[in-house]
Amino acid sequence: MQRIVRFLTGLPLAIILLVTIAMYSIIGTVLPQGLSVEVYAERYPQFAQWILALQFDHVYTSLVFYVLLGLFVLNLVGCTLKILPAQLRRMKQDYVMTPRASSEEMFDSSLNPEMFRSSLTKLRYSIRETEDGFIASKHRIGHIGSSVTHLGIIVIIVGSIIGAIFAEEGFFNLMPGDVKSFPDYGFAIRLDDFYFGFRENGTVEQYFSEVSVLRSQQPEQTAKLWVNQPLSVDSLSFYQTSYGWASRVLITKNSGEEVMNIWLRKGESTFVQENHMTVYLYGFYPNFTITSEGEPLTMTEEMKNPHYAVILYEYGQHVGSYIVEPGQPIERGDFQITFQDSTLYTGLTYRKDFGYSFVVAGSAIMFLGLMFSFYFTPKQILMTTNSIKVMTRQNPWGLTYQIKKLVEASRIGKESN
């Protein structure tokens, strides 16, 4: 049992897990994730079965990945609990590190010990007298660097687990005037306006949604959000993530009778039962042009020369493709089809994730831990009447280099320099 615990909390497992998680993650960057079974079967006919069986189609939410992460957390917690008591003991003032066998002797008979001591004090070493010299110590906090880093990573993982279990997320489109209600939170969002910010060359600089937050028996609050500038309402955050054009399609009979008056977005279609006609809005082009290959496209998102690309089907058979301007009717038998009143709609994502605070806090802790580990590494200089030894774990070469220079500068005769 002890051997199992030792393995589960030991460095060998940590290394195995770090390498395995790295290797396993590569799969998800090479294989497209989250596609349908049919797509995998079509793209990888020979391997599709294996891809699906091994859950390589959703690597980062696969059972294997969860097991790896679980083991990683277990290993990290166990390892930290194992090393922390010893690290805390080393932080005490009377702790003296053991010099490495290969530690270089730097004593020089021409050294001025007082000058050397004073130089160390200037470098913020705390000096403790010994029987035949002194011990200069610095950065005791560095002893707990690795544990603080581990703690940070654990907090990040806890935050991401909280997020995975409890986070709420959704997406919705709104046209100006539309309202999206959030009954569980006691408010609703109404889109007052959505528009582009244009540059001089006509390209879109930013997407803006102006909204009102509606609450019963409270005055409306207006707010504006754009990409990189989310809006927070209570515990929900709203993000500007998408947009599109909606166009009104009006289908009338030659007699003037209105058959249909609805909004269609690009890629949507509507069906007229009477003549089994499908009206498919292939695209809307606010600043229309046509490529040399005959493909319609829009030069900019400015409403300068709007056109619609429309395809008609009857009984499932293609009966015509049209490029029309707003209000220009498409005649089909007894029916007239016109597109007009194109307007922008916004696409907003909302999200609530308490785990994020943990992730930010964990990141800060981890960064602090790394700073302790790399730049506040514990250092000790042991000086006796005929010896100077440096003691540090992380960077003995650097400390030796630094103290050598200090010894050099503290030689008798250097005082006047």
Binding site: A22, S25, Y60, E205, Q206, R351, V359, M366, F367
Partner: protein, 274 residues
């Protein structure tokens, strides 16, 4: 404006020439063991760095922002980061010969940059954030540090191959010095990479609602971070110094290069505009 573009391209080209000449001079310094060649190489590197900085400043004036928004801009900034890290190391320790192993990397990345389109495009909405500067700025420094560490590791491996372990007057380092310096530079790069990932996550949360989306670029940054984590653990706790550590430093840098070039060219994702 056109004049600024002309001068930016001119300064960029002159810097590239200076870096190329510096790399050759460093080789000559190491091969011929001539101190004077080392001094010339450092001078060329320093001058090239100043000229390169001027080119970048001119681009900042042209575009009104830091050059962090496409593959060319990151490549030129990456080269700048490599040379900066090398010069800091050089002026701190005066180990001239390190340049012979670092400047060829700077030359290659600058060469890659020179082949990319240099047009300045306005920032797309998702990039219009101050996090861009912190996120990509730390990446420039981090990648630069990893390049220098890979150079030092290569130097160590060559030491091993030549079975030489004495510091010479021409500034060749002992194998132990290469090893320790490589580690220290990796530690710095790792700290910066951690900041790259953290700032990227905070920015992603503000821009896309999620702090982590397993986008290939962020996943490869994580993979690089994990590889260097293994390096640091093995070094601290298993005494992995010397040859295996040097090979690890080289492998880590290959991950960095893949994250920079491979992910953009081979894999699609949220960072595909870079």
């Amino acid at each position: 404006m056109e004049q600024i573009i002309f001068w930016e391209e001119t300064f960029f080209t002159v810097a590239f020439v200076a870096y190329t000449a510096a790399a050759l001079a460093f080789f000559a310094h190491v091969a011929l063991k001539k101190d004077i060649m080392g001094k010339i190489a450092v001078l060329l590197t320093s001058a090239g760095f100043l000229i390169h900085t001027t080119a970048i400043v001119l681009r900042v004036i042209e575009s009104g922002r830091l050059p962090f928004s496409n593959q060319f801009e990151f490549a030129t900034s990456f080269t700048w980061g490599i040379v900066l890290c090398y010069l800091v190391l050089h002026y701190a320790y005066r180990f001239t010969a390190v340049g012979a192993f670092v400047m060829p990397i700077a030359f290659l990345v600058m060469g890659y940059a020179s082949m990319l389109p240099k047009t300045i495009k306005p920032l797309m909405p998702a990039l219009q954030s101050n996090w861009l500067y912190l996120h990509v700025g730390t990446a420039v420094i981090s990648y630069g540090a990893f390049a220098v560490s890979a150079g030092l590791a290569t130097m160590y491996l060559i030491h091993l191959y030549q079975k030489k372990d004495n510091e010479t007057k021409t500034g060749m380092l002992t194998a132990e010095t290469c090893d320790y310096l490589s580690y220290r530079v990796i530690a710095f790069g790792y700290l910066m990479l951690t900041l790259v990932i953290i700032t990227g996550a905070i920015w992603a949360k503000a821009a896309w609602s999620r702090y982590w989306a397993w986008d290939p670029k962020e996943t490869w940054s994580l993979i690089t971070w994990l590889i260097y984590s293994v390096y640091l653990h093995l070094r601290f706790h298993r005494g992995w110094t010397g040859k295996p550590a040097a090979w690890f430093a080289v492998i880590g840098f290959l991950c960095v290069i893949f994250t920079f070039v491979g992910v953009n060219t081979l894999l699609a994702g949220l960072h595909s505009y870079l």
